[in-house]
């Protein structure tokens, strides 16, 4: 079994061959699905917990505190302890809730995040499903998440939850446009919707550099719209604590609350991973034109690390927003989208098209 940290395709290929030698094609597929499922499940659990910890630390440093320090060294085990606590908590159901929808909602939200993660290219060959329409798949599957939020707000039989859910519905559906259009801007440049293809196309230079002005605009629009899509501050109206106590998940407790909580952080990861893949070169190392030695040193860092370094950069950016900006009001959020981001985006697409047609990109 050939294993290289620089290229996972031979590793996954050898697993596939090993399995198909022993099993029927259907059996191979079934076993591979189970493996992929378990790996994604583990990844979501571990990475979600880690992001919660990271957020608490980042937030603490913004606020001149230390953050969790007691459980484990530097409080590293804190989130695991919190998670165990959430697991053991009683599941309280509001008396007149719509039971079926109430129980369904958290699963919709969490399943959507699993599906979206499955197409993210972590490194060469380290991608569960490489669809031809990868970008389209991610935008469409994340759009399903809003149904979970709407159902949660509706079925809780709580007015605060309902207001939160309606806000969230209006917000996410609006910002979906910006996310999609800013991704399309880059797709025009890349000429493919396949995520692995988009990463490969950036071997000569990241798209944020190659597409210069329109790509940079698209990147900023994507980060803003992505923040809004994940319901994070300054766009966290759906759970505006000072107005709606906790918004759509007010009535959830225990593990069901944990699902919403985990999904928020995994969504944060998905947005950052998409920004990384589409704008910042995915797992491609940082290269500078003709600095041969520098480029060589950069090549030594494995692609997985490159991917996560960039992802953490974007995650930090989004956390930075949350801990410095006040919250927008619902009409201001919609104004920002429909009156500013959308026209900018449409203009940006035309600009990009012209640039691509004229060959003015790098």
């Amino acid at each position: 079994m050939a294993f290289s940290i620089y290229d996972f395709s031979s590793f996954t290929q050898s697993i596939h061959e090993g399995l198909s030698n022993r099993l029927s094609p259907a059996g191979t597929l079934a076993v591979e699905w189970v493996i992929v499922g378990i790996v994604i499940l583990l990844f979501v659990a571990v990475f979600g917990l880690f992001l919660v910890y990271a957020e608490r630390k980042v937030c603490a440093f913004f606020q001149q505190r230390l953050g969790p320090m007691r459980v484990g060294p530097w409080g590293l085990v804190q989130t695991i302890a919190d998670f165990i606590k959430l697991l053991m908590k009683e599941l309280i159901q509001p008396a007149r809730a719509d039971k079926f929808l109430y129980n369904l909602a958290p699963f919709i939200v969490i399943i959507v995040t699993f599906l979206a993660i499955s197409v993210i290219p972590f490194a060469k060959g380290l991608q569960a499903f490489d669809f031809d329409i990868g970008v389209f798949f991610v935008t469409s599957i994340t759009a399903v998440g809003v149904i979970g939020i709407l159902l949660a707000g509706w079925s809780s039989n709580n007015k605060y939850s309902l207001i939160g859910a309606m806000r969230s519905g209006a917000q996410i559906i609006s910002y979906e446009l910006s996310v999609g259009l800013s991704l399309i801007t880059i797709v025009i440049l890349a000429g493919t919707l396949q995520l692995s293809g988009i990463v490969e196309a950036q071997r000569a230079g990241w798209f944020i550099y190659r597409g210069h002005i329109p790509a940079i605009i698209a990147f900023f629009v994507f980060v803003i719209a992505g923040t809004a899509e994940t319901n994070r501050g300054p766009f966290d109206l759906a759970e505006a604590e000072s107005e709606l106590t906790a918004g759509f998940h007010t009535e959830y407790s225990g593990i069901k609350f944990a699902f919403f909580f985990l999904a928020e952080y995994v969504n944060l990861f998905i947005v950052s991973a998409m920004a990384t893949t589409v704008f910042l070169g995915g797992w491609m190392p940082l290269h500078f034109g003709n600095l041969e030695e520098f480029n060589h040193v950069m090549d030594l860092i494995p692609p997985v690390f490159w991917f996560f370094i960039k992802v953490f950069f974007v995650i930090f950016l989004i956390m930075w927003f949350k801990w410095t900006f006040p919250r927008l009001r619902i009409d201001q959020i919609l104004t920002l989208e429909w009156k500013f981001l959308l026209p900018i985006n449409l203009f940006n697409i035309i600009l990009m098209t012209v640039i691509v047609l004229m060959g003015w990109h790098f």
Partner: protein, 372 residues
């Protein structure tokens, strides 16, 4: 959707209970909201959840005991409250306190005002969703509380003023500590502007929101920074100076834009003014006694007495009716928070829920002050 179908969808106002347990009512205030979608049609404040009967209790307490209770009303301007009671009793007795007492009382009042405004600033940011402000404000407030602790042993409910003067003299280190704090806070206050005031989102959320014109402010009796933001010159320190305020020069922070941002900016300017007042007094504290010895049993002559002070929230008044006994016949507090809260429904009518939170925050309500 056809017209007939549209008619069948009935929209109606719905009622939402905001509080008594709610993160942005800052205590146990209950607001009954009538909403249409996100728009607030009516706000009905219900108080009484932490009614403590302080006014009634005062009728069975001796005069020197009363400031203990006033501390617990508006706990963020504890010193101003107790100063009002002390001044009222001293005036009734015809006692003239030494200048040293006046100076120290004024310095304490202004420190308390700073601490109160700092906490208001923390909470204002938090209500608008900027959680980081909370920690910035508390970081600086801690320094003031340390100064209080050093001199009088308490941090929140000070009980430093007593009828006839002060409980103890200031700590020998007091001057240095205050100087240290002023130098520190003069650098830190611009940070407040950088973090919140200058923020586009913050300005969008507050500018032009909850406009409350001058006439309405006077009709509702809104005082303090909330009243001055609508151009109502109501600073008791200016109009009816007490303690050491006649000796200092300061600007009354006035604004005529009448909105939430104006109420915010007036408080920020008041912080600068407070610092300048402290600066003028701190090096000139005269030598002398810190207390006039009163009789063992304080009895006010028969009559009615009233004293106003400017607390951090506005015009705080104490009205005592004495029948010549050792405890008052009747005692009434005019608390600024109560009048300010009464204007909330007029201010927030027609705005959104998120604006209601911002407006309420800009009024700087302390519930025990309202519900005394």
């Amino acid at each position: 959707m056809g017209e007939a179908e549209q008619d069948r969808i009935e929209t109606q106002e719905y009622l939402v209970n905001m509080g008594p347990q709610h993160p942005s009512t800052h205590g146990v205030l209950r607001l009954l909201l009538k909403l249409e979608g996100e728009i607030v049609h009516h706000v009905d404040p219900h108080i009484g959840y932490i009614h403590s009967g302080i006014e009634k209790m005062c009728e069975s307490l001796t005069y020197p005991q009363i400031p203990y209770l006033t501390d617990r009303m508006d706990y963020l301007s504890a010193h101003m409250n107790e100063e009002a009671v002390c001044l009222c009793i001293e005036n009734a007795l015809g006692v003239e306190v030494p200048d040293r007492v006046k100076y120290i009382r004024t310095i304490f009042s202004e420190l308390q005002r700073l601490a109160s405004h700092q906490l208001w600033w923390c909470v204002m940011g938090m209500d608008l969703g900027a959680l980081t402000t909370f920690f910035y404000g508390l970081r600086d407030r801690e320094k003031i509380l340390d100064i209080f602790e050093e001199t009088c042993g308490a941090r929140l409910t000070l009980h430093y003023s007593i009828p006839g003067g002060l409980m103890f003299d200031i700590h020998p280190n007091f001057r240095n500590r205050v100087h240290e704090f002023l130098n520190y806070f003069r650098e830190k206050l611009p940070e407040y502007d950088q973090l919140l005031t200058g923020n586009v989102i913050f300005q969008e959320r507050t500018r032009g929101i909850g406009i409350f014109p001058r006439e309405a402010v006077i009709n509702y009796g809104v005082t303090g920074p909330s009243g001055r933001a609508s151009g109502f010159s109501c600073d008791v320190r200016k109009h009816h100076p007490y303690s050491a305020y006649p000796f200092v020069s300061f600007q009354e922070a006035l604004d005529d834009r009448c909105d939430t941002l104006a109420r915010y900016k007036v408080r920020i300017r008041e912080m600068w003014e407070s610092m300048s007042i402290i600066e003028q007094l701190i090096d000139n504290i005269p030598e002398g006694d810190y207390q006039v010895k009163l009789k063992g049993v304080v009895k006010l002559p028969e009559g009615e007495y009233f004293q106003r002070v400017e607390s951090a929230r506005g015009d705080f008044g104490v009205f005592i009716i004495s029948d010549g006994k050792k405890s008052p016949y009747r005692l009434k507090f005019r608390s600024p928070g109560f009048s300010n809260l009464s204007a909330l429904h007029a201010m927030s009518k027609g705005w959104k829920i998120a604006d209601l939170v911002a407006i309420m925050s800009s009024l700087d309500l302390v519930i025990p002050d309202i519900d005394r």
